[in-house]
Amino acid sequence: MEAILEGPRTVFTIFGLPITESVVNTWLVMAVLIILALIFRRNLQVYPDKRQNVVEAIVEAVSGLVNTTMGQKNKGFMPYIGTLFFLLLFSNLLGIFGLRPPTADFSVTIAYGIVTFFCIHYFAIKAKGWSYIKGMAEPFIFLLPMNIIGEVAKPFSLGMRLYGNLLGGSVIMAMISGAVALFVPAVASIYFDFFSALLQSFIFVMLTMVFIAIAKDDEE
């Protein structure tokens, strides 16, 4: 347990920049996702075979989720949301294999949160112009710092939620595996590793979609 609480250890350095376990494990997740994508896009046919059916079902599910949450006109967000979901899902699930999940590192999760922060404000300014910034100071000017704090709190809470859940899950799994040997860690891992990973990546993606949709489309 102490090894997890100490943070990711530095595996090697490039030009003086420390490359930690989280970075290397994210490379692993990226490699897995890219290889899966290359496998599944070979031989696409009009009448899908079994493998293509599964992939099409997944894509339809993600597309339906984006349409339901953000509305039909925002369906262009689907590739980013789908990629983010699978990146987070596979990153969270690395705990099953004994590797340290990259999302159990606050730097990684706050980075994903900052990307969401830039998405929210970029698309809001693109849709509404500068009245979006002025809208934060209405109806009273002293609401401006509170709105700014609220906007900063969004990526912080997104990152903190993902980080806290994954770190806590890793610590508890390490403690259970250390205390009881035979059957219990596998059963506990169903909740802490599988369900928690799926739920947390789903939550992150849903909140990202909701924040972007509200900032972009909320007509007053």
């Binding site: 609480l5 939620r161 806290g164 859940n165 739920l199």
Partner: protein, 85 residues
């Protein structure tokens, strides 16, 4: 007054325990309330069960956030103890 390391470590461990009181209590009550409302909604309209369950899980995970904040504070305090001892 001089702090020796044992005192700091002792207070850090105590603080970690105290931090989890509010976190566990508040988050459990909030999430339980949301679960109760979810179950009530399913009782009223059983065919919407999967949509209700998705919304309920979403709401519960957002309500858990402040409990997670206190967990992170507790883990940070335990990390301090680890570095001292």
């Amino acid at each position: 007054m001089g702090w020796n390391e044992l005192t700091v470590a002792a207070f850090a461990v105590l603080g970690a325990g105290i931090a989890m009181i509010g976190g566990g209590f508040g988050s459990a009550i909030g999430q339980g309330y949301a679960a109760g409302k979810g179950v009530e909604a399913v009782g009223r309209q059983p065919e919407a069960q999967s949509k209700i369950m998705t919304t309920m899980l979403l709401g519960q995970a957002v309500a858990e956030t402040t409990g997670i904040y206190s967990l992170v504070v507790a883990l940070l305090l335990l990390g301090i103890v680890n570095r001292i001892l």
